[in-house]
């Protein structure tokens, strides 16, 4: 995130200020000569055209840097590379500089962490340490690692809950699992962590996945190959990280491949398939058209909110997280007594 902010700020600087920044920080980027440019000009033009950008001409400046310095440009095939060198146009200078920024920041962070762990936390136990500790825990926020509504979800209610309260991404995964008794890794992570956020306990989760996978491969193979991962997701194995359910942002940015069913249907499904999926939720043609219009304009989360509104008959404040969708849905479909709402952390509700 810091890198994005840096990139933004650098990009808004005037070209002269940018050049001065390069000099001040002694960044070793040199522009290529005219003869070098001429020898690779056709390739540079191809790259520009592949990105629908204006073709470079004799006035354009290009910097020759090792490809390791510009991973984002390489990843997106947004730059010409040859024998390990990337030819970065001055319009993309920001990526170059941001790369340096990020690696310096990263190194500094690692050093700080090590110093902290070995020396400083002792010395600062009265002063800085309490503040630093609180920094991470104070933000309880909606990461849904422990559901705000401390409800326990019963296994037998899952199918109904999936139909009424799961967002489309999780609905799709859930019913695919029921249908094929299998999901690939990406799907298991996305759905599994969502269910954890919903309140499914580890024992129930194991029983659930075992009952599905067991139908296709036998419970022994499930226990041997898959149970470990589920326990890992709940923080019971390995480095014991309690993984948080994926937010919409993360899901939208994922890249489902062959045989995968995770990701955001509004982003990753073809229009035809999305129309069919929404149809199976009994949404009328007009609302489906409206949703697809949002999808065409790449407003995937707005599309999901529209689906919520259409299926629940009420407004929503904007979906950022599948567990948020679920909680809002439960609030509407199963309203609590006001007293219980005040005691979020102590009450449990039993699913009816």
């Amino acid at each position: 995130m810091e890198s994005s902010l840096f990139r933004n700020r650098f990009h808004s600087e005037a070209p002269d200020d940018q050049k001065r920044f390069l000099e001040d920080n002694e960044l070793p980027y040199k522009a290529i000569s005219t003869s070098d440019f001429e020898s690779i000009k056709d390739k540079l033009v191809q790259v520009a055209r592949s990105l629908n950008q204006p073709s470079p001409n004799a006035d354009s400046t290009f910097y020759k840097v090792p490809f390791e310095e510009v991973p984002e440009l390489v990843a997106g095939r947004k730059v010409y590379i040859h024998k390990g060198q990337a030819y970065v146009p001055s319009t993309q200078l920001t990526f170059l500089v941001a790369g340096q920024f990020r690696s310096k920041l990263s190194k500094a962070l690692v050093l700080t962490y090590r110093k902290w762990m070995s020396v400083i936390s002792e010395e600062e136990s009265d002063r800085l340490a309490p503040i630093v500790e609180a920094l991470s825990s104070r933000y309880l926020g909606p990461d849904y690692s422990q559901g705000k509504i401390k409800s326990e979800v019963a296994l037998q209610d899952m199918d109904d809950l999936a139909k009424t309260s799961f967002p489309l991404c999780m609905r799709h995964l859930f019913f695919k699992l029921r249908e094929e008794h299998h999901l690939k890794h990406g799907g298991r992570q996305q759905l599994g962590l969502f269910l954890k956020g919903v309140g499914l306990k580890l024992e129930d989760a194991l029983a659930f996945w075992r009952s599905e996978f067991g139908q296709k491969m036998g419970v022994e193979r499930f226990d041997k190959e898959y149970a470990y991962n589920i326990r890992h997701n709940y923080g019971k194995e390995g480095k014991r990280t309690d993984y948080t359910p994926f937010s919409c942002n993360k899901i939208i940015l994922s890249t489902p491949g062959v045989g995968d069913h995770h990701g955001c249907p509004y982003r990753h499904f073809s229009e035809e398939n999305l129309r069919a999926a929404l149809g199976s939720m009994h949404l009328g043609v007009r609302i489906v058209d409206e949703i697809l219009e949002k999808v065409r304009n790449r407003h995937y989360q707005v599309a999901c909110s529209l689906t919520f509104e259409a299926t629940h008959g009420s407004q929503t404040i904007g979906i950022n997280h599948p567990n948020q969708y679920f909680e809002q849905s439960r609030k509407i479909l199963q309203p609590k007594v006001p007293q219980e709402l005040a005691n979020d952390n102590t009450e449990t509700t039993t699913a009816s």
Binding site: L51, A75, R77, I81, V258, P265, F269
Partner: protein
Amino acid sequence: MGQPHVDAMEVDSSRNVRDSTTDYMQVDELPAPEQNKPADVFSPEYLRLYYSRLFPYSDMCKWLSYGNDGKHPGCDSSYLNRREFSFTLDHDIYVRYVSFRNASEMESSIRDRCPYKIDIGAVYNVDPAKRTAYASSGSEKVFAPVERELVFDVDMTDYDDIRFCCTGADICLKCWPLMTIAIKVLDTALREDFGFEHILWVYSGRRGVHCWVCDVKARRLTNEQRAAVAEYFRVYKGNENNTKKVSLGGSAMHPSLLRAYVEVLRPFFEDQILSNQGLLQFEERYGKLLDMIQDDGIVAQAQDRWQSSRRSSETDVSVARWKQLKNLLESGKHKGSGLRRCVEEIIFSYTYPRVDFEVSKHMNHLLKAPFCVHPKTGRICVPIDAEECDRFDPTAVPTVADLIEELNKGEASLSNVAQNQKERDISKTSLMKSIELFRTQFLNPLLKSCKADVENSYTEKLHNTQTKLDW
């Protein structure tokens, strides 16, 4: 096949005195010859013999030491010991953080435990076997990977949506060209675009290939940089939920993609894949392809022509229909940009390499070692010559059973008595040519370059300390 099996015991025990007791015990355990099943391609006994007689420990350690096993003062003698290996033993017992100081330690450990699978992990900052000493938070040091080859894993099951000759774990010579394409495209790009030189391609033993990029720059890439390289090769973004799997935007293709298309993808698609896979022969198959075309008019025309055709029984009908389709698309180009790259997008969908992203991204990912035996097929994970990969035949790769039989029957092809027992044994089998390929194409050039690296960095270090001492 039962007979040679027993003979091997006797021959072995007469030549290797130190093994005679174990061999003798083994003979007692073997079932009587007439009760033996016909030769399996794999058995624990074959594996044991392979690891005791044929597995090339010293070549593997020479490779993985990257020149640090020499006598030059610039060598880091702890280097090999800091590499993680993992063993998968019988009954699926998995052992991580295995390490060795040298080839003879590797040999005794592997012969002792006879792993069904050996994986190679990263080089860490300390011996992985001693990592727990650095785990406590009081220490400034953390146990972390410092070097690791850039690796790629291409698996045939990732192409299941576009191959119709086989499914699942099976492969044949009709779908293997997809792997050939992957090798050609990736090898060229890794050399031309990224400037890497020391690249080893290995058959995975069943249905895919692995690539090990061993240049020092590659070994020092961060996870983010590895992810960037893997992403550079991602073109296919498909699964059953979307229909347009490849999107080549813009008015031209990136030079790397264009090179792949012209040199490899298009010729393979039009000369081999179309007919091998009968891509346009039946409606279930050509339907998939037509789904990628966003012009209903053209799709309808193609369907009309092909649906009622009597030619579907001919195997070369796909080639003819492809020509028809290209003509339709060409004539429709003026209608809009949706069709502009359609032919290319279709070809990319059916041919461009599909790499396993997660394998390449993480330094600490464990990948199967070359020259291992695949426990399900018995085949040896042999190196593939990238320059001759058109001729590689996965169905002709020797199995461990083949090698043991050759060992028993064969005569040494080298008559030089100075060669050690291991070299003589290897030369009796078809493993010899794989090891020679490994050495000439990969290991020798690599070691030459490593030697230069070690010497250069030593000289540089000396120079730096000297200049620091100058007043």
